[in-house]
Amino acid sequence: MIISEQISSPVAPKNRRTVARQAHVWLALALLLVAVLSLATGPTGTSLWSALGKMFSGKPLTAMERVVLWDIRMPRLIIGILVGAGLAVSGALMQGLFRNPLADPGLVGVGAGGTLGAILAIVLGSTLPIWFSDIVGNMLIPVSAFFGSWLVIVVLYRVSTRHGRTSVATMLLAGIALAALAAALSGIVIFMADDQQLRDLTFWSLGSLAGATWTKVVITAPLILIAIGGSLFLGHGLNALALGEATASHLGIAVQRLKLLTILIVAMATGAAVAVSGGIGFIGIIVPHLLRLATGPDHRTLLLNVALLGAAILLTADIISRLIIAPAELPIGIVTAVLGAPVFLWILLRRRGLVDM
Protein backbone atom coordinates (compact mmCIF):
# COMPACT_ATOMS: atom_id res chain seq x y z
CA MET A 1 0.00 0.00 0.00
CA ILE A 2 2.74 2.42 1.02
CA ILE A 3 4.80 1.43 -2.00
CA SER A 4 1.94 2.04 -4.37
CA GLU A 5 1.38 5.48 -2.88
CA GLN A 6 5.00 6.40 -3.30
CA ILE A 7 4.91 5.67 -7.00
CA SER A 8 1.36 6.75 -7.63
CA SER A 9 1.69 10.43 -8.43
CA PRO A 10 4.38 11.07 -11.02
CA VAL A 11 4.12 14.40 -12.75
CA ALA A 12 5.10 15.16 -16.33
CA PRO A 13 7.42 18.11 -16.93
CA LYS A 14 5.37 21.24 -17.42
CA ASN A 15 6.83 22.23 -20.76
CA ARG A 16 6.50 18.93 -22.65
CA ARG A 17 5.05 20.66 -25.68
CA THR A 18 7.96 23.09 -25.93
CA VAL A 19 10.50 20.32 -25.41
CA ALA A 20 8.85 18.28 -28.18
CA ARG A 21 9.05 21.22 -30.57
CA GLN A 22 12.67 22.00 -29.71
CA ALA A 23 13.43 18.33 -30.30
CA HIS A 24 12.68 18.87 -34.03
CA VAL A 25 15.80 21.03 -34.20
CA TRP A 26 18.04 18.86 -32.03
CA LEU A 27 17.09 15.67 -33.85
CA ALA A 28 17.63 17.30 -37.25
CA LEU A 29 21.11 18.36 -36.12
CA ALA A 30 21.82 14.86 -34.81
CA LEU A 31 20.69 13.38 -38.13
CA LEU A 32 22.97 15.75 -39.99
CA LEU A 33 25.91 14.72 -37.82
CA VAL A 34 25.27 10.99 -38.28
CA ALA A 35 24.80 11.55 -42.01
CA VAL A 36 28.24 13.11 -42.28
CA LEU A 37 29.74 10.23 -40.26
CA SER A 38 27.97 7.76 -42.54
CA LEU A 39 29.50 9.40 -45.62
CA ALA A 40 32.89 9.23 -43.94
CA THR A 41 32.63 5.53 -43.04
CA GLY A 42 33.54 2.66 -45.33
CA PRO A 43 36.01 -0.13 -46.01
CA THR A 44 37.98 1.68 -48.75
CA GLY A 45 40.57 4.20 -47.69
CA THR A 46 38.57 6.98 -49.31
CA SER A 47 38.39 9.98 -47.01
CA LEU A 48 35.41 12.32 -47.04
CA TRP A 49 37.53 15.05 -45.53
CA SER A 50 40.23 15.08 -48.17
CA ALA A 51 37.55 14.94 -50.87
CA LEU A 52 35.76 17.90 -49.29
CA GLY A 53 39.08 19.74 -49.09
CA LYS A 54 39.59 19.18 -52.79
CA MET A 55 36.10 20.36 -53.64
CA PHE A 56 36.54 23.59 -51.71
CA SER A 57 39.96 24.31 -53.19
CA GLY A 58 38.65 23.57 -56.69
CA LYS A 59 40.88 20.54 -57.34
CA PRO A 60 39.32 17.60 -59.25
CA LEU A 61 38.27 14.43 -57.36
CA THR A 62 39.84 11.13 -58.31
CA ALA A 63 37.58 8.63 -60.11
CA MET A 64 37.78 6.41 -57.04
CA GLU A 65 36.60 9.20 -54.75
CA ARG A 66 33.75 10.05 -57.07
CA VAL A 67 32.53 6.44 -57.30
CA VAL A 68 32.84 5.67 -53.59
CA LEU A 69 31.34 8.90 -52.30
CA TRP A 70 28.78 9.72 -54.97
CA ASP A 71 27.72 6.33 -56.35
CA ILE A 72 28.07 4.11 -53.28
CA ARG A 73 27.93 6.03 -50.02
CA MET A 74 25.53 8.81 -51.02
CA PRO A 75 22.65 6.55 -52.24
CA ARG A 76 23.26 4.34 -49.23
CA LEU A 77 22.95 7.38 -46.96
CA ILE A 78 19.71 8.52 -48.60
CA ILE A 79 18.17 5.04 -48.58
CA GLY A 80 19.19 4.75 -44.91
CA ILE A 81 17.41 8.01 -44.06
CA LEU A 82 14.30 7.03 -46.05
CA VAL A 83 14.08 3.50 -44.66
CA GLY A 84 14.79 4.55 -41.06
CA ALA A 85 12.27 7.36 -41.16
CA GLY A 86 9.72 5.23 -43.03
CA LEU A 87 9.91 2.28 -40.65
CA ALA A 88 9.85 4.45 -37.53
CA VAL A 89 6.84 6.45 -38.74
CA SER A 90 5.08 3.20 -39.73
CA GLY A 91 5.64 1.95 -36.20
CA ALA A 92 4.29 5.12 -34.60
CA LEU A 93 1.25 5.12 -36.90
CA MET A 94 0.48 1.47 -36.24
CA GLN A 95 0.77 2.05 -32.51
CA GLY A 96 -1.64 4.97 -32.85
CA LEU A 97 -4.05 2.93 -34.95
CA PHE A 98 -4.00 -0.11 -32.65
CA ARG A 99 -3.80 2.15 -29.58
CA ASN A 100 -0.92 0.10 -28.30
CA PRO A 101 2.83 0.67 -27.92
CA LEU A 102 3.67 -2.91 -28.94
CA ALA A 103 2.32 -2.73 -32.50
CA ASP A 104 5.20 -2.77 -34.96
CA PRO A 105 5.16 -3.58 -38.67
CA GLY A 106 8.03 -6.04 -38.23
CA LEU A 107 6.51 -7.90 -35.29
CA VAL A 108 2.95 -8.39 -36.46
CA GLY A 109 3.56 -9.60 -39.98
CA VAL A 110 3.21 -6.37 -41.95
CA GLY A 111 6.89 -6.57 -42.92
CA ALA A 112 6.47 -10.27 -43.73
CA GLY A 113 3.54 -9.37 -45.99
CA GLY A 114 5.72 -6.83 -47.76
CA THR A 115 8.47 -9.43 -48.07
CA LEU A 116 6.05 -11.88 -49.66
CA GLY A 117 4.95 -9.19 -52.10
CA ALA A 118 8.55 -8.38 -53.00
CA ILE A 119 9.49 -12.05 -53.45
CA LEU A 120 6.47 -12.62 -55.67
CA ALA A 121 7.55 -9.65 -57.79
CA ILE A 122 11.16 -10.88 -58.05
CA VAL A 123 10.24 -14.46 -58.95
CA LEU A 124 7.12 -14.01 -61.02
CA GLY A 125 8.04 -10.61 -62.46
CA SER A 126 9.88 -12.22 -65.37
CA THR A 127 6.76 -14.17 -66.41
CA LEU A 128 4.68 -11.01 -66.86
CA PRO A 129 3.96 -9.77 -70.38
CA ILE A 130 6.65 -7.40 -71.65
CA TRP A 131 4.27 -4.45 -72.18
CA PHE A 132 3.28 -4.72 -68.52
CA SER A 133 6.87 -4.80 -67.25
CA ASP A 134 7.64 -1.84 -69.48
CA ILE A 135 4.94 0.20 -67.79
CA VAL A 136 5.59 -0.72 -64.16
CA GLY A 137 9.33 -1.22 -64.61
CA ASN A 138 11.30 -0.81 -61.42
CA MET A 139 8.20 0.02 -59.43
CA LEU A 140 6.99 -3.59 -59.56
CA ILE A 141 8.84 -4.76 -56.43
CA PRO A 142 7.91 -1.85 -54.10
CA VAL A 143 4.32 -1.75 -55.36
CA SER A 144 3.93 -5.48 -54.89
CA ALA A 145 5.47 -5.14 -51.41
CA PHE A 146 2.98 -2.36 -50.68
CA PHE A 147 0.05 -4.65 -51.52
CA GLY A 148 1.52 -7.43 -49.35
CA SER A 149 1.85 -5.08 -46.35
CA TRP A 150 -1.55 -3.54 -46.95
CA LEU A 151 -3.28 -6.92 -47.05
CA VAL A 152 -1.72 -7.97 -43.73
CA ILE A 153 -2.69 -4.76 -41.89
CA VAL A 154 -6.25 -4.90 -43.15
CA VAL A 155 -6.67 -8.53 -42.07
CA LEU A 156 -4.94 -7.82 -38.76
CA TYR A 157 -7.18 -4.86 -38.03
CA ARG A 158 -10.32 -6.80 -38.92
CA VAL A 159 -9.31 -9.72 -36.71
CA SER A 160 -8.15 -7.85 -33.62
CA THR A 161 -10.52 -4.88 -33.44
CA ARG A 162 -14.16 -5.27 -32.53
CA HIS A 163 -16.51 -2.39 -31.80
CA GLY A 164 -13.61 0.03 -31.95
CA ARG A 165 -11.57 -1.73 -29.31
CA THR A 166 -8.37 -3.55 -30.11
CA SER A 167 -7.50 -6.70 -28.23
CA VAL A 168 -3.74 -6.65 -27.82
CA ALA A 169 -3.42 -10.37 -27.22
CA THR A 170 -5.41 -11.09 -30.39
CA MET A 171 -3.36 -8.57 -32.34
CA LEU A 172 -0.02 -10.09 -31.33
CA LEU A 173 -1.20 -13.68 -31.86
CA ALA A 174 -2.86 -12.90 -35.18
CA GLY A 175 0.31 -11.06 -36.18
CA ILE A 176 2.37 -14.16 -35.44
CA ALA A 177 -0.02 -16.31 -37.48
CA LEU A 178 -0.03 -13.88 -40.42
CA ALA A 179 3.76 -13.56 -40.34
CA ALA A 180 4.09 -17.36 -40.35
CA LEU A 181 1.64 -17.66 -43.21
CA ALA A 182 3.42 -14.98 -45.24
CA ALA A 183 6.78 -16.65 -44.54
CA ALA A 184 5.41 -20.05 -45.62
CA LEU A 185 4.00 -18.61 -48.84
CA SER A 186 7.34 -16.86 -49.43
CA GLY A 187 9.03 -20.24 -49.00
CA ILE A 188 6.78 -21.81 -51.62
CA VAL A 189 7.50 -18.99 -54.07
CA ILE A 190 11.25 -19.28 -53.42
CA PHE A 191 11.07 -22.95 -54.47
CA MET A 192 9.90 -21.77 -57.86
CA ALA A 193 12.86 -19.39 -58.27
CA ASP A 194 15.78 -20.04 -60.62
CA ASP A 195 19.43 -19.70 -59.60
CA GLN A 196 19.86 -16.06 -60.52
CA GLN A 197 16.63 -15.08 -58.73
CA LEU A 198 17.72 -17.12 -55.72
CA ARG A 199 20.95 -15.12 -55.51
CA ASP A 200 18.99 -11.86 -55.70
CA LEU A 201 16.63 -13.04 -53.00
CA THR A 202 19.33 -14.14 -50.59
CA PHE A 203 21.23 -10.91 -50.94
CA TRP A 204 18.09 -8.87 -50.49
CA SER A 205 16.60 -10.83 -47.59
CA LEU A 206 19.68 -10.30 -45.41
CA GLY A 207 18.32 -6.87 -44.67
CA SER A 208 21.03 -4.51 -45.71
CA LEU A 209 21.52 -1.06 -47.15
CA ALA A 210 24.56 -2.32 -49.08
CA GLY A 211 22.68 -2.70 -52.36
CA ALA A 212 21.68 0.95 -52.45
CA THR A 213 21.83 2.58 -55.89
CA TRP A 214 20.49 5.82 -57.31
CA THR A 215 17.81 3.83 -59.13
CA LYS A 216 16.56 2.48 -55.81
CA VAL A 217 16.59 5.99 -54.37
CA VAL A 218 14.41 7.20 -57.22
CA ILE A 219 11.96 4.32 -56.73
CA THR A 220 11.72 4.51 -52.95
CA ALA A 221 11.91 8.22 -52.27
CA PRO A 222 8.49 9.25 -53.64
CA LEU A 223 6.63 6.48 -51.77
CA ILE A 224 8.29 7.09 -48.42
CA LEU A 225 8.29 10.90 -48.67
CA ILE A 226 4.58 10.94 -49.52
CA ALA A 227 3.94 8.54 -46.62
CA ILE A 228 5.87 10.65 -44.10
CA GLY A 229 4.42 13.92 -45.41
CA GLY A 230 0.91 12.47 -45.25
CA SER A 231 1.44 11.17 -41.72
CA LEU A 232 2.10 14.70 -40.46
CA PHE A 233 -1.56 15.53 -41.13
CA LEU A 234 -2.84 12.66 -39.01
CA GLY A 235 -1.47 13.86 -35.66
CA HIS A 236 -4.63 15.42 -34.30
CA GLY A 237 -6.80 12.51 -35.41
CA LEU A 238 -4.49 9.93 -33.84
CA ASN A 239 -4.48 11.87 -30.56
CA ALA A 240 -8.26 11.68 -30.51
CA LEU A 241 -8.17 8.02 -31.51
CA ALA A 242 -6.15 7.32 -28.35
CA LEU A 243 -9.49 7.81 -26.53
CA GLY A 244 -11.15 5.10 -28.62
CA GLU A 245 -13.00 5.15 -31.93
CA ALA A 246 -16.34 6.29 -30.53
CA THR A 247 -14.87 9.19 -28.57
CA ALA A 248 -12.70 10.22 -31.52
CA SER A 249 -15.79 10.47 -33.69
CA HIS A 250 -17.59 12.49 -30.99
CA LEU A 251 -14.63 14.86 -31.16
CA GLY A 252 -15.43 15.41 -34.82
CA ILE A 253 -12.88 13.07 -36.38
CA ALA A 254 -13.91 11.18 -39.53
CA VAL A 255 -12.67 7.94 -38.00
CA GLN A 256 -13.11 5.62 -41.00
CA ARG A 257 -11.15 7.97 -43.22
CA LEU A 258 -8.43 8.35 -40.58
CA LYS A 259 -8.05 4.58 -40.28
CA LEU A 260 -8.01 4.09 -44.04
CA LEU A 261 -5.32 6.76 -44.53
CA THR A 262 -3.22 5.41 -41.68
CA ILE A 263 -3.32 1.89 -43.11
CA LEU A 264 -2.44 3.13 -46.62
CA ILE A 265 0.48 5.18 -45.32
CA VAL A 266 1.86 2.34 -43.20
CA ALA A 267 1.61 -0.05 -46.14
CA MET A 268 3.33 2.43 -48.46
CA ALA A 269 6.21 3.18 -46.12
CA THR A 270 6.70 -0.40 -44.91
CA GLY A 271 6.31 -1.86 -48.41
CA ALA A 272 8.83 0.56 -49.90
CA ALA A 273 11.28 0.08 -47.03
CA VAL A 274 11.09 -3.71 -47.20
CA ALA A 275 11.40 -3.68 -51.00
CA VAL A 276 14.62 -1.72 -50.90
CA SER A 277 16.32 -3.02 -47.77
CA GLY A 278 14.84 -6.41 -46.80
CA GLY A 279 13.73 -7.16 -43.26
CA ILE A 280 14.92 -4.57 -40.77
CA GLY A 281 13.10 -4.96 -37.48
CA PHE A 282 12.50 -3.06 -34.26
CA ILE A 283 13.10 0.49 -35.55
CA GLY A 284 9.34 0.99 -35.49
CA ILE A 285 9.11 0.04 -31.85
CA ILE A 286 12.22 1.54 -30.22
CA VAL A 287 12.04 5.00 -31.74
CA PRO A 288 8.43 5.97 -30.91
CA HIS A 289 8.78 4.47 -27.43
CA LEU A 290 11.90 6.46 -26.56
CA LEU A 291 10.37 9.66 -27.88
CA ARG A 292 7.10 9.17 -25.98
CA LEU A 293 9.14 8.81 -22.79
CA ALA A 294 11.12 11.95 -23.54
CA THR A 295 8.58 14.31 -25.09
CA GLY A 296 5.13 12.80 -24.52
CA PRO A 297 2.65 11.03 -26.78
CA ASP A 298 1.23 14.01 -28.71
CA HIS A 299 1.26 12.75 -32.31
CA ARG A 300 1.32 16.28 -33.73
CA THR A 301 4.95 16.66 -32.66
CA LEU A 302 5.77 12.97 -32.22
CA LEU A 303 5.56 11.91 -35.87
CA LEU A 304 8.16 14.36 -37.20
CA ASN A 305 10.49 13.58 -34.28
CA VAL A 306 10.02 9.86 -34.94
CA ALA A 307 10.97 10.30 -38.59
CA LEU A 308 14.14 12.23 -37.68
CA LEU A 309 15.25 9.91 -34.87
CA GLY A 310 14.37 6.80 -36.91
CA ALA A 311 16.62 7.99 -39.73
CA ALA A 312 19.43 8.85 -37.30
CA ILE A 313 19.22 5.50 -35.49
CA LEU A 314 19.14 3.45 -38.70
CA LEU A 315 22.17 5.34 -40.03
CA THR A 316 23.96 4.69 -36.73
CA ALA A 317 23.10 0.98 -36.93
CA ASP A 318 24.38 1.00 -40.50
CA ILE A 319 27.68 2.57 -39.41
CA ILE A 320 27.99 -0.04 -36.65
CA SER A 321 27.24 -2.83 -39.13
CA ARG A 322 30.03 -1.56 -41.36
CA LEU A 323 32.59 -1.12 -38.58
CA ILE A 324 32.10 -4.06 -36.25
CA ILE A 325 33.56 -6.78 -38.49
CA ALA A 326 35.22 -4.51 -41.09
CA PRO A 327 35.96 -4.91 -43.92
CA ALA A 328 33.03 -7.37 -43.96
CA GLU A 329 29.51 -6.13 -43.12
CA LEU A 330 27.04 -7.42 -40.57
CA PRO A 331 23.45 -7.42 -41.89
CA ILE A 332 21.85 -4.31 -40.42
CA GLY A 333 18.79 -6.30 -39.33
CA ILE A 334 21.02 -8.07 -36.79
CA VAL A 335 22.21 -4.76 -35.34
CA THR A 336 18.69 -3.34 -35.00
CA ALA A 337 17.45 -6.60 -33.43
CA VAL A 338 20.27 -6.56 -30.86
CA LEU A 339 19.37 -2.99 -29.97
CA GLY A 340 15.61 -3.40 -30.27
CA ALA A 341 14.67 -6.77 -28.79
CA PRO A 342 15.73 -5.77 -25.24
CA VAL A 343 13.71 -2.54 -25.55
CA PHE A 344 10.67 -4.58 -26.57
CA LEU A 345 11.11 -6.89 -23.56
CA TRP A 346 11.55 -3.84 -21.34
CA ILE A 347 8.24 -2.33 -22.47
CA LEU A 348 6.57 -5.69 -21.95
CA LEU A 349 7.93 -6.05 -18.40
CA ARG A 350 7.08 -2.50 -17.39
CA ARG A 351 3.54 -2.72 -18.67
CA ARG A 352 2.52 -6.34 -18.44
CA GLY A 353 -1.06 -5.25 -17.92
CA LEU A 354 -1.20 -4.15 -21.55
CA VAL A 355 -1.20 -7.69 -22.85
CA ASP A 356 -4.20 -8.61 -20.71
CA MET A 357 -6.33 -5.92 -22.30
Binding site: P10, A12, H250, L251, G252, R292, G296
Partner: protein, 262 residues
Amino acid sequence: MISARDIRVEFSKKPILHGVDFNARPGEVTAIVGPNGSGKTTLLRALTDEVHWTGQISVNDRDIHAYKPWELAAIRGVLPQIATIAFPFTVIEVVRLGLTSGTHGGEDRIVQQALQRVGLAGYENRFFQELSGGEQQRAHLARVLCQVWDPMRDGTPRWLLLDEPVASLDIGHQLLIMNCLQDFARRGGGVVAVMHDLNLTAMVADAVTMIARGEAIAQGPLPEVFTDHWLSAAYQCDLKTNAVPPNPSAFILPQTAALRGH
Protein backbone atom coordinates in the same frame (compact mmCIF):
# COMPACT_ATOMS: atom_id res chain seq x y z
CA MET B 1 -34.17 19.92 -29.18
CA ILE B 2 -33.08 16.31 -29.47
CA SER B 3 -35.87 14.05 -30.56
CA ALA B 4 -35.90 10.39 -31.43
CA ARG B 5 -38.72 8.35 -32.93
CA ASP B 6 -39.22 4.61 -32.87
CA ILE B 7 -35.64 3.73 -31.93
CA ARG B 8 -34.93 0.02 -32.27
CA VAL B 9 -31.67 -1.71 -31.39
CA GLU B 10 -30.80 -5.39 -31.66
CA PHE B 11 -27.70 -7.19 -30.42
CA SER B 12 -27.18 -10.44 -32.31
CA LYS B 13 -30.87 -10.73 -33.20
CA LYS B 14 -31.93 -10.08 -29.59
CA PRO B 15 -34.04 -6.90 -29.41
CA ILE B 16 -32.77 -4.47 -26.75
CA LEU B 17 -34.91 -1.44 -27.52
CA HIS B 18 -38.28 -1.97 -29.17
CA GLY B 19 -39.39 1.32 -30.62
CA VAL B 20 -38.50 3.99 -28.05
CA ASP B 21 -39.51 7.64 -28.48
CA PHE B 22 -37.37 10.20 -26.71
CA ASN B 23 -37.32 13.99 -26.36
CA ALA B 24 -34.93 16.37 -24.65
CA ARG B 25 -35.36 20.13 -24.55
CA PRO B 26 -32.63 22.74 -24.27
CA GLY B 27 -32.55 24.48 -20.91
CA GLU B 28 -33.34 21.24 -19.13
CA VAL B 29 -31.53 18.32 -17.56
CA THR B 30 -33.17 15.20 -18.98
CA ALA B 31 -32.41 12.01 -17.08
CA ILE B 32 -32.71 8.51 -18.51
CA VAL B 33 -33.36 6.05 -15.69
CA GLY B 34 -34.26 2.41 -15.41
CA PRO B 35 -33.12 -0.85 -13.87
CA ASN B 36 -29.94 -2.71 -14.89
CA GLY B 37 -30.15 -4.14 -18.38
CA SER B 38 -33.29 -2.16 -19.23
CA GLY B 39 -31.60 -0.51 -22.23
CA LYS B 40 -30.97 2.98 -20.85
CA THR B 41 -27.29 3.04 -21.85
CA THR B 42 -28.23 1.50 -25.21
CA LEU B 43 -30.66 4.37 -25.78
CA LEU B 44 -27.89 6.89 -25.15
CA ARG B 45 -25.54 4.96 -27.42
CA ALA B 46 -28.16 5.00 -30.15
CA LEU B 47 -28.54 8.77 -29.71
CA THR B 48 -24.74 9.08 -30.10
CA ASP B 49 -24.57 6.63 -33.00
CA GLU B 50 -22.36 4.14 -31.16
CA VAL B 51 -24.64 1.17 -31.80
CA HIS B 52 -26.52 0.19 -34.93
CA TRP B 53 -30.04 1.57 -34.62
CA THR B 54 -33.10 2.12 -36.77
CA GLY B 55 -35.63 4.90 -36.42
CA GLN B 56 -35.22 8.62 -36.69
CA ILE B 57 -33.10 11.01 -34.60
CA SER B 58 -32.81 14.76 -34.99
CA VAL B 59 -30.65 17.31 -33.19
CA ASN B 60 -31.80 20.94 -33.22
CA ASP B 61 -34.51 20.00 -35.76
CA ARG B 62 -32.04 18.59 -38.27
CA ASP B 63 -31.71 14.89 -39.07
CA ILE B 64 -28.61 13.45 -37.41
CA HIS B 65 -27.38 11.90 -40.67
CA ALA B 66 -27.29 15.36 -42.27
CA TYR B 67 -24.44 16.44 -39.97
CA LYS B 68 -20.75 16.00 -40.75
CA PRO B 69 -18.80 14.56 -37.78
CA TRP B 70 -17.15 17.91 -37.05
CA GLU B 71 -20.46 19.80 -37.27
CA LEU B 72 -21.94 17.45 -34.70
CA ALA B 73 -18.83 17.74 -32.53
CA ALA B 74 -19.26 21.51 -32.49
CA ILE B 75 -22.71 21.28 -30.90
CA ARG B 76 -22.58 18.05 -28.92
CA GLY B 77 -20.18 16.60 -26.36
CA VAL B 78 -20.47 12.94 -25.36
CA LEU B 79 -19.14 11.37 -22.17
CA PRO B 80 -18.93 7.56 -22.31
CA GLN B 81 -19.09 5.40 -19.20
CA ILE B 82 -15.58 4.00 -19.50
CA ALA B 83 -12.87 5.67 -21.50
CA THR B 84 -9.37 4.29 -21.32
CA ILE B 85 -6.49 6.14 -22.93
CA ALA B 86 -3.81 4.37 -24.90
CA PHE B 87 -0.72 6.47 -24.23
CA PRO B 88 0.71 8.38 -21.25
CA PHE B 89 -1.16 11.64 -21.85
CA THR B 90 -1.30 14.16 -19.01
CA VAL B 91 -4.57 15.55 -17.67
CA ILE B 92 -4.19 18.85 -19.48
CA GLU B 93 -3.36 17.10 -22.76
CA VAL B 94 -6.55 15.04 -22.44
CA VAL B 95 -8.67 18.08 -21.65
CA ARG B 96 -7.17 19.99 -24.59
CA LEU B 97 -8.40 17.24 -26.92
CA GLY B 98 -11.83 18.71 -26.27
CA LEU B 99 -10.84 21.94 -27.97
CA THR B 100 -12.37 21.05 -31.33
CA SER B 101 -13.27 23.35 -34.17
CA GLY B 102 -16.27 24.43 -32.12
CA THR B 103 -14.04 26.29 -29.68
CA HIS B 104 -12.34 29.47 -30.76
CA GLY B 105 -10.57 32.04 -28.69
CA GLY B 106 -9.33 31.88 -25.11
CA GLU B 107 -8.51 28.16 -25.27
CA ASP B 108 -6.09 28.18 -22.34
CA ARG B 109 -8.57 30.03 -20.14
CA ILE B 110 -11.35 27.60 -21.06
CA VAL B 111 -9.17 24.58 -20.22
CA GLN B 112 -8.27 26.07 -16.83
CA GLN B 113 -11.87 26.92 -16.01
CA ALA B 114 -13.08 23.49 -17.06
CA LEU B 115 -10.51 21.84 -14.78
CA GLN B 116 -11.60 24.12 -11.97
CA ARG B 117 -15.28 23.28 -12.48
CA VAL B 118 -14.69 19.56 -12.11
CA GLY B 119 -12.37 20.08 -9.13
CA LEU B 120 -9.13 19.14 -10.89
CA ALA B 121 -7.25 22.44 -10.76
CA GLY B 122 -3.62 21.65 -10.01
CA TYR B 123 -3.81 18.25 -11.74
CA GLU B 124 -2.69 19.61 -15.13
CA ASN B 125 0.59 17.72 -15.43
CA ARG B 126 -0.41 14.50 -13.69
CA PHE B 127 -0.54 11.43 -15.88
CA PHE B 128 -4.11 10.50 -16.76
CA GLN B 129 -3.46 6.77 -16.41
CA GLU B 130 -2.27 7.27 -12.82
CA LEU B 131 -5.48 8.98 -11.65
CA SER B 132 -8.19 7.22 -9.66
CA GLY B 133 -11.37 6.18 -11.46
CA GLY B 134 -13.32 9.17 -10.20
CA GLU B 135 -10.57 11.60 -11.16
CA GLN B 136 -10.36 10.10 -14.66
CA GLN B 137 -14.10 10.50 -15.04
CA ARG B 138 -13.88 14.16 -14.02
CA ALA B 139 -10.95 14.77 -16.39
CA HIS B 140 -13.06 13.40 -19.25
CA LEU B 141 -15.95 15.58 -18.16
CA ALA B 142 -13.64 18.62 -18.27
CA ARG B 143 -12.69 17.58 -21.82
CA VAL B 144 -16.35 17.34 -22.84
CA LEU B 145 -17.12 20.69 -21.18
CA CYS B 146 -14.34 22.31 -23.22
CA GLN B 147 -15.90 20.94 -26.37
CA VAL B 148 -19.20 22.76 -25.83
CA TRP B 149 -18.00 25.50 -23.52
CA ASP B 150 -20.72 28.07 -24.31
CA PRO B 151 -24.12 26.41 -23.86
CA MET B 152 -25.53 28.58 -26.65
CA ARG B 153 -23.80 29.52 -29.90
CA ASP B 154 -25.48 31.88 -32.39
CA GLY B 155 -28.85 31.16 -30.84
CA THR B 156 -28.54 27.38 -31.17
CA PRO B 157 -28.31 25.31 -28.03
CA ARG B 158 -25.41 22.89 -27.55
CA TRP B 159 -25.69 19.51 -25.90
CA LEU B 160 -24.04 17.32 -23.30
CA LEU B 161 -24.83 13.59 -23.53
CA LEU B 162 -23.47 11.68 -20.58
CA ASP B 163 -23.50 8.04 -19.54
CA GLU B 164 -23.61 7.85 -15.74
CA PRO B 165 -21.45 10.96 -15.28
CA VAL B 166 -21.22 10.58 -11.51
CA ALA B 167 -21.10 6.77 -11.23
CA SER B 168 -17.70 6.48 -9.56
CA LEU B 169 -17.70 9.78 -7.64
CA ASP B 170 -18.05 10.46 -3.94
CA ILE B 171 -21.08 12.44 -2.80
CA GLY B 172 -19.25 15.77 -2.70
CA HIS B 173 -18.04 15.46 -6.26
CA GLN B 174 -21.41 14.07 -7.36
CA LEU B 175 -23.02 17.31 -6.24
CA LEU B 176 -20.24 19.40 -7.79
CA ILE B 177 -20.73 17.74 -11.19
CA MET B 178 -24.52 17.78 -11.06
CA ASN B 179 -24.37 21.50 -10.24
CA CYS B 180 -22.14 22.00 -13.20
CA LEU B 181 -24.62 20.19 -15.49
CA GLN B 182 -27.56 22.10 -14.07
CA ASP B 183 -25.70 25.35 -14.66
CA PHE B 184 -25.08 24.34 -18.30
CA ALA B 185 -28.80 23.77 -18.76
CA ARG B 186 -29.78 27.02 -16.99
CA ARG B 187 -27.63 28.95 -19.44
CA GLY B 188 -29.53 27.51 -22.39
CA GLY B 189 -27.76 24.24 -23.20
CA GLY B 190 -29.30 20.80 -23.12
CA VAL B 191 -28.18 17.92 -20.89
CA VAL B 192 -29.09 14.27 -21.37
CA ALA B 193 -27.72 11.96 -18.69
CA VAL B 194 -28.16 8.28 -18.00
CA MET B 195 -28.54 8.16 -14.21
CA HIS B 196 -28.27 5.37 -11.73
CA ASP B 197 -28.92 7.19 -8.47
CA LEU B 198 -32.64 7.98 -8.22
CA ASN B 199 -32.31 10.44 -5.34
CA LEU B 200 -29.66 12.44 -7.14
CA THR B 201 -31.85 12.38 -10.24
CA ALA B 202 -34.78 13.66 -8.20
CA MET B 203 -32.63 16.57 -7.04
CA VAL B 204 -31.37 17.78 -10.41
CA ALA B 205 -33.45 16.47 -13.31
CA ASP B 206 -36.13 18.57 -14.97
CA ALA B 207 -37.46 15.78 -17.16
CA VAL B 208 -37.17 12.02 -16.94
CA THR B 209 -37.44 9.17 -19.41
CA MET B 210 -37.96 5.88 -17.65
CA ILE B 211 -36.83 2.80 -19.52
CA ALA B 212 -37.86 -0.71 -18.51
CA ARG B 213 -37.54 -3.93 -20.51
CA GLY B 214 -36.51 -2.06 -23.65
CA GLU B 215 -39.40 0.37 -23.66
CA ALA B 216 -39.95 3.93 -22.46
CA ILE B 217 -42.70 3.25 -19.94
CA ALA B 218 -42.99 6.86 -18.80
CA GLN B 219 -41.57 10.23 -19.78
CA GLY B 220 -42.20 13.85 -18.96
CA PRO B 221 -41.51 16.36 -16.21
CA LEU B 222 -39.89 14.83 -13.13
CA PRO B 223 -42.93 15.00 -10.80
CA GLU B 224 -45.08 13.15 -13.34
CA VAL B 225 -42.62 10.30 -13.79
CA PHE B 226 -41.19 9.91 -10.30
CA THR B 227 -44.37 8.54 -8.77
CA ASP B 228 -44.79 5.47 -6.60
CA HIS B 229 -46.62 3.80 -9.44
CA TRP B 230 -44.05 4.23 -12.22
CA LEU B 231 -41.01 3.69 -9.98
CA SER B 232 -42.44 0.47 -8.58
CA ALA B 233 -43.40 -0.68 -12.06
CA ALA B 234 -39.97 0.02 -13.53
CA TYR B 235 -37.87 -1.47 -10.74
CA GLN B 236 -40.38 -4.18 -9.86
CA CYS B 237 -40.28 -3.61 -6.14
CA ASP B 238 -42.31 -1.55 -3.72
CA LEU B 239 -41.02 2.04 -3.77
CA LYS B 240 -42.44 5.16 -2.14
CA THR B 241 -41.49 8.78 -2.74
CA ASN B 242 -41.23 11.17 0.16
CA ALA B 243 -40.39 14.84 0.24
CA VAL B 244 -37.98 15.56 3.06
CA PRO B 245 -38.20 19.20 4.20
CA PRO B 246 -36.53 21.58 3.60
CA ASN B 247 -35.61 19.83 0.38
CA PRO B 248 -38.65 19.92 -1.92
CA SER B 249 -37.57 17.06 -4.18
CA ALA B 250 -38.93 13.58 -3.83
CA PHE B 251 -36.81 11.00 -2.07
CA ILE B 252 -37.27 7.43 -3.06
CA LEU B 253 -37.46 4.92 -0.28
CA PRO B 254 -37.89 1.19 -0.58
CA GLN B 255 -40.63 -0.15 1.64
CA THR B 256 -39.37 -2.53 4.30
CA ALA B 257 -41.84 -5.11 3.08
CA ALA B 258 -39.87 -5.22 -0.14
CA LEU B 259 -36.77 -6.24 1.80
CA ARG B 260 -38.54 -8.93 3.79
CA GLY B 261 -39.98 -10.29 0.60
CA HIS B 262 -36.50 -11.20 -0.64
